[in-house]
Structures are given as structure tokens and as C-alpha cells.
Symmetry: C2
Subunit: 424 residues, 2 copies
Amino acid sequence: MEPILVRQCRFALDPVEGVLRDVDIYLEGGQITCLGECSGKSGTIIDADHMVCMPALYNTHTHAAMALFRGFHDDAILEEWLQRVWRAEKRLTPGVIHEASRLAIMEMLSSGTAGFVDMYFYPEETAKAAEELGIRALVGPVMLENMTSIDKWAEETVRLAKGLEKLKLVKPIVNVHSLYAAPIEAVEKGLEIAGEIGVRLQMHAAETRREVYAVKQRYGKFPVEALRDAGLLSQRVHLVHMGWATSWEYQAVAKAGATIAHCPVSNMKLATAGFLPLHDLQEKGVTVGLGTDGAASNNVLDMFREMKAAVLLQRHSYWDTRVKALHVLRAATLGGAEIMGVRAGRLKPGYEADLVLLDASRLHLQPLRPDNLVSALVYAATGGDVVYTIVAGRAAYSPEKAEKFTEEAARIAERLNGFFEGEV
Amino acid sequence: MEPILVRQCRFALDPVEGVLRDVDIYLEGGQITCLGECSGKSGTIIDADHMVCMPALYNTHTHAAMALFRGFHDDAILEEWLQRVWRAEKRLTPGVIHEASRLAIMEMLSSGTAGFVDMYFYPEETAKAAEELGIRALVGPVMLENMTSIDKWAEETVRLAKGLEKLKLVKPIVNVHSLYAAPIEAVEKGLEIAGEIGVRLQMHAAETRREVYAVKQRYGKFPVEALRDAGLLSQRVHLVHMGWATSWEYQAVAKAGATIAHCPVSNMKLATAGFLPLHDLQEKGVTVGLGTDGAASNNVLDMFREMKAAVLLQRHSYWDTRVKALHVLRAATLGGAEIMGVRAGRLKPGYEADLVLLDASRLHLQPLRPDNLVSALVYAATGGDVVYTIVAGRAAYSPEKAEKFTEEAARIAERLNGFFEGEV
């Protein structure tokens, strides 16, 4: 892999140290090895005098292949929508998952995302697509009690983890859907596996009032309470949504060192009405990442738009402006990197070379200065402003690839639309 | 002006009648004159087989020239931010307003907006910029009691209206800031003028709790109540925000036939915590448009992103999904057109030729079908997907203009940044 010299970047943002102007950035062996004046270095040159450089973003919760269901009856009544999706999901094949995953991954790469935490069917297909396209991913089969048994799922999880060993960018994660769609014993078994292979366990938790009620009925406790009391809340646990948890559950999360994926757009679009107390949790030292959730409930995988939505939801819900652009920028970069298990999220030598270059000349970013750069990236930019996404030192998205991605997406879209023939 | 033939548009959306496939659209004399099979027509041809066509959007509340203040200390404490903006506003000149307005208008045109309702200083400069660039606008001097007198402002309003008579796309509007920053007598005088010249009166109302409290202290009534009881609520009144009004005030708005601008992003970003009951108002027959507010509190003028934010805010606040993509799409097109006083918002012969063409091949819109088109436009698209914005039959934004806009924006941004020298 040839090194990359990003030359004379107009603005370079590190989420901790701030903004630098007109710097070079050198990427070698998958890492950032020079920042500042890096002349004399050889490699592929990217002239970045009209670009902003920042660490890439991580999508800490998605169902990538659900790109298939983007806009599919998504404004119907929830029950009708679910019925239709479930009926269609029965017809899913590895081939459809592979194509829908490629579509989702191309969208993620083209909008500045360097890695994602996934939960969906046929995870080996999503893994394959991720490795092909050069994006980081955590994948694993989902434990859903009406579809599989704990033993069968555990076996598949271990087998997939084994199979992923030869991949460079894709790692396993243990996926338990939730405490309302899987028994707590699955979490117990899952954490055992997670400990053995050294990975996290991902589960939905406290997303809706309906779920909290169901768990309370089943276990006499709220979801995170139930986990904690069973000794199943640890730093290996990655909790998704968490908009309807109690103060003592958030406290328990902080104490255990569990991580959280905040999915503001999905929560709002599905009218869950809950919201994660992002600021309190960050203050308590909890690692929070942002997630788009699946395209069926978003309907995009654009982490730039997700950052803005996070601030908007937080401010509307708190009735104050305590959550700032920088808080969500850190969640999407540093927080996401930590959840993914990657030493990244910084623009600093020694960190993994996961970077985004954005076009600083876009109309909606003007006038752009060092003092309003963070604001521009969070409140004004979209994934559409991304020119390069570099993952582990390789340009996984670039102007050259943009056209190829669009062409492939058109071919995939045509085939995916065939999947719905007679259903829409 | 040469006619335009939009040929073989892949999908064409009318907000009332729905989706058509592979249709031609012919624009002549500023109007849509053919939809369907329009072969044999001559004019500028736009091959649209990879495009979606829909009515253009109208931004029913903005402070265009505040593009100058995009990201300017916008995450500081409100008071500090306001102090800084007010201090800087004292140094505004007609030249700065003209340039900042051009920047804002280029951004609006490039993101599918065909018209906007403005409220800011030096409105004659914004008018000039709008006419130059070919966008519709309603402008007028602002009545603010600490800056002018009713007589002086009334005189300026009439004079500007006179001056606008020779313009084609820009019309006057009577601007009273609000009941907390202007006396109710200004509204009385303003409505007199509005009646004489046949235009609307725009004012902020019920945006924040602080404002409602101030008006209650001053008049013993809530803002809309105060207007109604003084006989000042009519179909000429355009109320902006309205997130903190009472049920009887909404009822009064419906009865009077006043219109409303809903600004979801601004309301959330400024943590006003209020929200407009969009669905109830639409059910009551109230004409509601969407607005971005100024770039200082958004921070973009992208009506596509505003549509999505409207659904998200509504669903999060109502705890249900009653507000659908189509509701906000209609507000942004039909609602906006009515507020602007333009017979537009439809894709139908006889309507004004205000159209948007979007690139249907974008990754985040796939897979795209007639059944998920509205969902794609509201939940997935951004202004960045716009390829053409046609205003009154003229391509005010096009691929040819995109580059010129970017170059001009860079020049303007440099000069506007000079404006802040020593302040940031």
C-alpha cells in the first residue's frame, strides 16, 4: 500500500487540540506519521488546499443491509410497516444481503464513515462487502428468540468470529437483539463468548416505552437494571438507543464502563419520544458514539447529518444549549473509534489513518474560518461534502471512485427493486 | 427568454396528484405549459432521464444576509452571542449586505429554493441581489423600536415598495419584528400599508417563553391574543415560529386566515423547546410554510434538510407519527407558494414554472421507486442533490452556474471574513 501525502490542507481539525492551517498530513503503514510540515515524503499526493481534513466518523449502530428497505412503506402505521418488512425479510438471501450491504457501505464511505457496528442477518455477507470496499466493520449473527436458539446462535457467532480472523478490517461482535426479543440467558452466553474472543456485545436497550414495559413484565426490572442485577453489565456491553432509561440505570452504565450508541434521527423518526442524556453521560465519562440505525428508519447513513440531529434533539429535549457541536463531533469520532476498538478519532501522528477530506469551497460552508470550523462541520456540512474517505491509510472513497460507486449503486438498485416486485 | 423542454424526466412528482414516470415538461413564458408527452416543442433541452422533477421550495422565513454570521460564536451562551452579533451588526454596510445576500441566494438556488420571505437590514440590497440572481423574494425594512420610529419605518416601507415596482421577481412585505421589540401600533400602521399595497405583514410570534412573558407583561395578553383583540389578526398576517402559542391562539389564526412559517431547525438549535402543532393547523386549513430562519441559527438555508427536521421535531414532540413526509413536502411547496403569493407548488400546466431537478442517481436515494419517492425527497435528499433550480421558467441554478457560484462565494467569503478581522 502506497503512502499518502495530503498536501497543504487548508484546515485540519483535531477534536482535542483544535484547528491547524495549511498543514501536510502523511499517512504510511496505515497510520498518521507526520502532521505539519511533511515535505520530502513520497507517495500518492492529494492537493488539499481547498479541503478540510478531520478524523473519519464511526457509525456505532446500523443494520447496513436494510438499505434495501429505504423508504419502503416507512410512513405507514408502525404495525403495517413491521408486517411488511418482516414478510419481505423472510425472502432475504445471502445475495441480496451482499448487494444491499455494498450499497450501504458505498453510501457510508462516500459520506465520511470509516467504520460501522452492524446487526443484521447473513453477517458474513456484510463482512465480505466491508472487506471488499475497505471499510471497518463489526458484525455478528443476531440472537432473536423467535428465529434461533441460544446454542445455535452461539455456535454461529463463534464460527463467524473464526472466519473473520483472516480479514483485516472486519472484526466480530456478539449481537443479542434486546431483552424483549431474546432471553437474558442469551446475554449471559453472549458475554462468555465476547470475553473469550475479546470483543463487545451489542444490544438494543431502552429504546421505547413498550420495550421497557415488556422487560419490566418479564423480569420485574427495567432493562439495564435487569442486566446489572444479573451481573451482565460490563465494559464489554454496547447499549443501543437508551432514550428511556432511568437515572440509576445511566449511573450503572457509567459504573460498569459500558458504551452507548445514540441514534437521534431514528429515535425521532420512529417517534420513540425518548432521548439520551448525552451531556450527562459524557460528563460521567461514558463513551457515547452516534449511530444512524438502519436506512429504513433514518433514511440515510450520513454521520454528518446525524451529528447535527444529535445537537438539535438534545437542545429541544433539555430546553437549553448545553450540548455543543464539539460534544457530538467527539462522540462521532473519538467515541466511535473507542467503541470500534480502533486507535483513531484524532488527527495526530501515531493514530490510525482514518480521515475525511471535505470540500471547503461548498456554498453552505461559507464564510469558513478556524473559529467557525467545528460549527460548519456539525451544523452545515453533509456527507455530500466529502471528497475523500481514507480508511487505514487507503483512499476507500475518492473522486475517482465516486463515479464507479454511482454506477454500481444503479445496478444494485435495479436488482433490489426487483426484490419488491408485486409488493409495492 | 427561451422555453425549456425537460425531456424524459425519470420521476416527476406533483404534491397533490402523485408520481409520473418518464414524462416531458415544457416551460414557456414562465409557466408550465405541457406535462407528459411534449415532443416537437423547441427550446433549451434538459435531458432528465436520471433526474427527479418536483415543484421548487419556498423558504418562508429567513434573514438572508445573516449568512455573514454563519457559525459566528453560535455555540456561545445566548447572551454572549447576541452581544457579539449586535455589535457586529452596527458595522453593517449596504455593500456587506449585498454580498452576504448574494451568498445566501446562491446557496438557496443551489439547494432547490425558488423564493424566500426575508426580514433584515438594507432590504433594497437583498432585493437587488435577488433580482440579479433570479430568485423570488419578499423584502421590507424591519420595524424595531430601539432603532427607528413608526413614521420613519412606514415611510421607508412605502418608498421601498415603490422602488420594487419595476422588479419582476421581488415584491414588498411589511416587516414588524415582533410584539416584544415593536409596539402594537406598528402592527396597526403596518397592516394599513400592507392593505394599501396589497401585501402581507410578517412578524415573529410566540417563538420563546421569554417573549410570551414579555408580551403578557406589556399587554396583559399572549402575543396572538393581543393581535386578535386589537383587530390586527387577518389573512395579511404571516406569523413566524409560533411554537409557544395557546390552543385558542391557533384557533384564532385559523379563523383569521393568517399564515405561519414553521422553523424547526432554528427552534431546536436555539433550544426554544416549543413546537408548532403542524398537523392540527394543516387540518384546520391554516397555510403553513417552512423556513430556515437565518444562517446564524440553522446554519444552512437548505429546505430539503428543513423538511426532514420538521418531521423529526413533530414526531419527537407529539410522541407519534401523525406528521408524514407528504405533509411537510406540501408545506414547503404549496404552502410556501401561497405565502409568497405565487401560483406555484404544483407540477401542472398553468402553474408558474418554479421547478427543481434532482440527481436521481445519488447513493443515498437508492433504491428509488415511485412508491418511495416522497420518502426519498424528504428523508434522504439534501439540497446538495439539486442539479437545476428553475424560477419563473429560467434556470437560475444549473450545472453551468454551479462553478461560477462557487468561485463567487469564495471571493465573497474572503471579503466577509475581513469584516470579522480582530473580532474572532
